[in-house]
């Protein structure tokens, strides 16, 4: 029998198993988390100028949950997201996505994992200017060498209320519409987890509400896992759970839905 080189083995592991299989595994093994961080530390710089952005953080994000990560500027909330998503390497500790440890993965395998199991929504500049809304939604699939099933992209766009904007380029869309296209793209691969980094940071109140509603629907209707970094208590109020960070460590972990006012009070107490 041929021995596979380690990278190939990893590639095999990374291939998404059939949805049904995943469902049954996640329901039978309730302990299995979508994303797990164990003792994650991230330091920047060297010598005396070293800054510790994350300090031995351990946390898990359960499947089909909506978590908001909050904290004052510099508390490490963005770093937490980057490390959990494999965009940034950790200095110490382990990150597991869907049970796969990121640490030992080479760049290519890490990219594949990101492509197949993670969706991203950034604060701004989420879309490739050269491509239409539909092409942007289809982009992760095409990068994976797959074509979207007939009607799949249209269905995704319809779900975010932009069925009539498929052929428009980002420059022809409003900021709120662009974020909705970004959400459609993030959901297109049916990822294990969607990371959203201040998704409403550049939007007005009504566009923000629409974006947050779409994330909520993804969790409720499609059992999607969402992790969102935000500084806005109104946004955090859409989540099932709110994590508060300060100086690179989790200082509070609120479960269950909470009102925006309650969250704002906690925030104020922290900063």
């Amino acid at each position: 029998m041929l021995a596979l080189p380690p990278t190939l083995v990893v590639v095999r592991l990374c291939r998404s198993p059939p949805r049904g299989w995943l469902k049954s595994v996640t329901t039978t093994l309730q302990t299995r988390q979508a994303v797990e961080l164990h003792g994650v530390t991230r330091r920047y710089g060297t010598g005396e100028q070293t800054v510790t952005a994350l300090d031995r953080v351990s946390v898990g994000f359960a499947p089909a949950s909506f978590t908001a990560v909050m904290g004052p500027s510099g508390s490490g909330k963005s770093t937490l997201l980057h490390c959990a998503a494999g965009l940034d390497r950790v200095s110490e500790g382990r990150v597991l996505i869907d049970g796969v440890e990121l640490g030992p993965l080479r760049e290519k395998a890490r990219t594949r994992l990101r492509r197949d199991r993670i969706g991203f929504v950034f604060q701004a500049f989420n879309l490739v200017g050269a491509l239409t809304a539909a092409q942007n939604v289809e982009l992760p699939l095409r990068l994976a060498g797959r074509r979207a099933a007939v009607g799949q992209v249209d269905a995704m766009l319809a779900e975010v209320g932009l069925a009539d904007r498929a052929g428009h380029r980002p420059s022809e869309l409003s900021g709120g519409q662009q974020q909705r296209v970004a959400i459609a793209r993030a959901l297109a691969t049916r990822p294990v987890v969607v990371f959203a980094d201040e998704p409403t940071g550049a939007l007005d109140a009504s566009a923000s509400r629409e974006v947050l509603r779409l994330l909520r629907v993804a969790v409720d209707r499609h059992a999607q896992t969402v992790v969102m970094v935000t500084h806005d208590p109104l946004a955090a109020a859409y989540a099932d759970r709110v994590l508060f960070l300060a100086d690179g460590a989790i200082v509070e972990d609120l479960h269950g839905p909470h009102g925006a006012e309650q969250i704002a009070t906690r925030m104020a107490a922290l900063s």
Binding site: S78, H82, L87, D88, E107, K108, T111, R112, R114, R115, D116, F120, F122, Q123, F125, N126, L127, V128, G129, A130, L131, Q135, L139, P140, R142, L143, A144, R169, S171, S174, G175, Q178, R185, D197, A202
Partner: protein
């Protein structure tokens, strides 16, 4: 998907597109000319089946083979042997001589062509020519002319031959070119015979042994007139130089444009990486984009060049770069090859940038501004230093190389060093920026701040300026220094104050024109040593040889003259420069020899083809004819390199300014007036131009000194270095103006500032 990027961001591909379009057009045009400029069988031998060429001498240093003439005995035995060979219908010696028609007493037609426009009637059949009207020439003084001359049978035809003006009677008109006279006259007017045209049946086996070479098919072009070969060689030099410089500059421009495009697209590339593009996919995306542009630009460029090339045929002939009768057709392989070259150039240009693009981390999608982390990457350092070493190493080869290789080595070394200067430019940005006075206003502070964090951007703008200044100073400086040196050499040769020189309508002075003057002249000819080596000689007094031939006074040398006759001569003295022979002996054996100039000791006497001028004017005219060619070379090479780089300057500045619109919006919001913003951009661009000029000079000036050292060694006298200040000012000023204008341009499009604001809000 690549297509979507190209279509959407056409502005950022404009520079690459224009550079490739021009580059491919230049290469395709040059290749078309090259294809057309291959040696061809002379028209007068077009109907031959076989041409027998006389034994050729090839010098050890390369150069053109020189055919020595057969002696009369060798010729008759060869002709007898050929005629006796089965299958040979006729074997005719080719005897050509100088003849030029006089129209109203003035020589007409191309002087270069005239040298071999007379021929023997017996050889008319070799060109397939027949009498259309009248009779063949039968005795001395009769001539058959081409119908294009428009002279009727029976008319008197005044002509100029090497002996002087004479008048012939037209007995017939042919469908060919040239003047045909009877065989006896032709053999007295022509020098020796170096080719025999043979009409033979297919399969006839010709044996000539040591006495020559049997040429068939296209190989018969080997006997085209030596002058045509020389002219073609000049043309080929220009074409090679054009392709070389054009190709180099195209790669240079494409690679700097691509490198810059990657820097300004970091965020977009980061986003692609974040949503799952592997480094390989990003790399392939960039490669495909550029290759698409290469095809889009290459196909029209190739046709543009190939279609423009035929228009260049006449200017090439007029400039003396191709022989008369040169025409250019549409060459498909030139089109094809140049499109391929365009693709290769594009791939070479984008390769490094594509690799760098693949390494853009996905986190860059989240960075607010594309702040450069380090101006220099390790690859850049390593490649830059390697280029410095390679360029320096090439320069070290100079002292030991031959005079022919020196200019090439200087140019190659300078090109490599230009690349090195470009790669290392970011290092120099910060120290340079420190020199900018901070002043009281905001401009100084902003420029110093921006330039220190964006060393790469300044270096990108400086890159084409480095090449433009480097090429201009090096090329013009080398040529001008060389031509000054040549003038010094020539001026020493002409002592008399007044001369009778050939007019520009004739190749030289006839015997009659020389005899009409009082003064001294020398009659140039070529004689052949027993080895077959040709040596230039002049008809003067007694047989004298320069010391480098290694002959003793009194020793006897068998010399073969232009008519093939071998005469043994005893050396009577050692001369200073050239081989001298008794003038009458030269005239006897080289009836075709023409005198270039007579140094007058009495007033000038008018004669066809002769003009009076001062010695200085004569030297200058001769030098000018050469300088005209040099100027043409320069104009073409400079046009390509500087024109190209100007394009790159404009393109880089435009791209840079456009990519920074967000930064300008911020400036605008903090209270900068549009005027202040524009000033910051212009000052920054000018700073980059200063950096480019300084680096260009740093490469070109030492190379110029190397070139001068080579010349001094060759001439053996000190040579003044010509620093082309006007050119430097012109190129530097032009780059500065272009850069300033291109920085300003995006602001002219109303709404860059407000448009940027909208993008930011959205």
């Amino acid at each position: 998907m690549s297509w979507a990027f190209v279509r959407h961001q056409w502005a950022s591909f404009l520079g690459t597109f224009a550079a490739l379009l021009l580059g491919v057009a230049v290469i395709s045009g040059s290749l078309s000319l090259w294809a057309a400029a291959q040696p061809r069988v002379p028209d007068a031998l077009a109907a031959t089946d076989v041409v027998i060429a006389a034994p050729a001498f090839k010098s050890a240093e390369g150069g053109f083979p020189v055919y020595r003439p057969w002696s009369p005995e060798e010729l008759s035995s060869l002709l007898a042997k050929l005629s006796a060979t089965p299958g040979v219908r006729s074997a005719v010696p080719v005897r050509t001589f100088y003849v030029q028609r006089l129209v109203d007493g003035q020589p007409s037609g191309d002087p270069g062509e005239a040298v071999h426009s007379g021929a023997a009637w017996s050889s008319a059949g070799l060109g397939g020519y027949t009498i259309q009207n009248g009779n063949p020439p039968s005795r001395s003084g009769e001539v058959v002319v081409p119908s294009s001359a428009g002279v009727p049978v029976g008319a008197a035809l005044p002509v100029l031959i090497a002996a002087g003006p004479t008048t012939w009677t037209v007995t017939g008109v042919t469908d060919g070119g040239g003047f045909y006279v009877d065989d006896a006259t032709a053999s007295s007017l022509a020098g020796g015979v170096r080719a025999i045209g043979v009409l033979a049946d297919r399969g006839a086996s010709l044996q000539v042994g040591e006495l020559g070479t049997v040429l068939t098919g296209d190989a018969r072009s080997a006997v085209e007139p030596e002058q045509d070969t020389r002219t073609r060689w000049l043309g080929a030099q220009l074409i090679i130089a054009t392709v070389f410089v054009g190709g180099f500059v195209a790669v240079f421009v494409v690679s700097s444009t691509c490198a810059f495009a990657v820097t300004s697209r970091r965020r977009e590339l980061g986003l692609l990486r974040a949503v799952g593009a592997t480094p390989g996919q990003v790399r392939r995306l960039l490669l495909t984009e550029t290759l698409l542009v290469a095809l889009l630009a290459g196909v029209p460029g190739a046709f543009l060049g190939a279609l423009a090339a035929p228009l260049l045929a006449d200017p090439f002939v007029a400039a003396g770069l191709e022989p008369v009768g040169f025409t250019v057709g549409l060459s498909w392989w030139a089109v094809l090859i140049s499109v391929l070259v365009g693709v290769v150039v594009a791939a070479a240009g984008v390769w490094l940038s594509a690799r760098r693009a693949g390494r853009v981390p996905p986190l860059d999608a989240l960075r607010d501004a594309a702040v450069e982390k380090r101006p220099m990457t390790r690859t850049r350092w390593v490649t830059g230093i390697l280029c410095v070493l390679a360029g320096g190493g090439l320069a070290l080869l100079l002292p030991g190389s031959s005079a022919n290789d020196k200019p090439t080595i200087v140019l190659m070394s300078a090109m490599v060093l230009l690349v090195a200067a470009t790669l290392l430019a970011p290092v120099l940005v910060v120290p340079l920026v420190r020199l900018v006075p901070a002043g009281r206003g905001a401009t100084g502070v902003l420029v110093r701040g921006a330039a220190s964090v964006a060393a790469r951007r300044l270096a990108s703008i400086a890159a084409p300026v480095i090449a433009a200044v480097g090429f201009a100073v090096l090329l013009v400086g080398t040529f001008q220094t060389a031509s000054v040196a040549v003038d010094i050499e020539d001026a020493a040769r002409i002592p008399a104050s007044s001369v009778a020189a050939r007019s520009s309508a004739v190749p030289g002075l006839s015997e009659t024109a020389v005899r009409a003057q009082q003064g001294t002249s020398s009659l140039p000819t070529v004689v052949y040593l027993p080895s077959g080596e040709p040596i230039s000689a002049v008809g003067g007094a007694a047989f004298a040889v320069p010391p480098e031939l290694g002959l003793q006074v009194g020793s006897t040398v068998p010399l073969r003259f232009a008519d093939g006759v071998v005469v043994s001569l005893a050396v009577s003295s050692i001369s200073s420069a050239s081989v001298e022979l008794p003038r009458d002996l030269v005239r006897l054996h080289d009836p075709n020899a023409l005198t270039p100039v007579v140094q007058l000791s009495a007033p000038f006497v008018a004669s066809p083809g002769a003009v009076s001028m001062t010695a200085r004017a004569y030297v200058e005219r001769e030098a000018d004819e050469e300088n005209d060619l040099v100027d043409l070379f320069l104009a073409v090479l400079l046009g390509i390199s500087v024109g190209y780089t100007a394009l790159a300057v404009a393109n880089t500045v435009l791209m840079a300014t456009y990519a920074r619109r967000q930064e300008f919006v911020t400036l605008h919001r903090t209270g900068a007036t549009p005027g202040q913003t524009v000033r910051v951009v212009i000052v920054e661009s000018l700073l980059a131009v200063v950096l480019g000029v300084a680096l260009g000079l740093a490469v070109a000036v030492p190379a110029l000194f190397e070139a001068r050292a080579g010349l001094q060694e060759e001439i053996g006298a000190p040579v003044t270095l010509v620093m082309p200040w006007p050119w430097l000012l012109l190129v530097a000023g032009g780059c500065a103006l272009l850069a300033a204008f291109a920085s300003f341009m995006p602001f002219l499009r109303s709404g860059l500032l407000s448009g940027g604001a909208r993008t930011m809000a959205g």
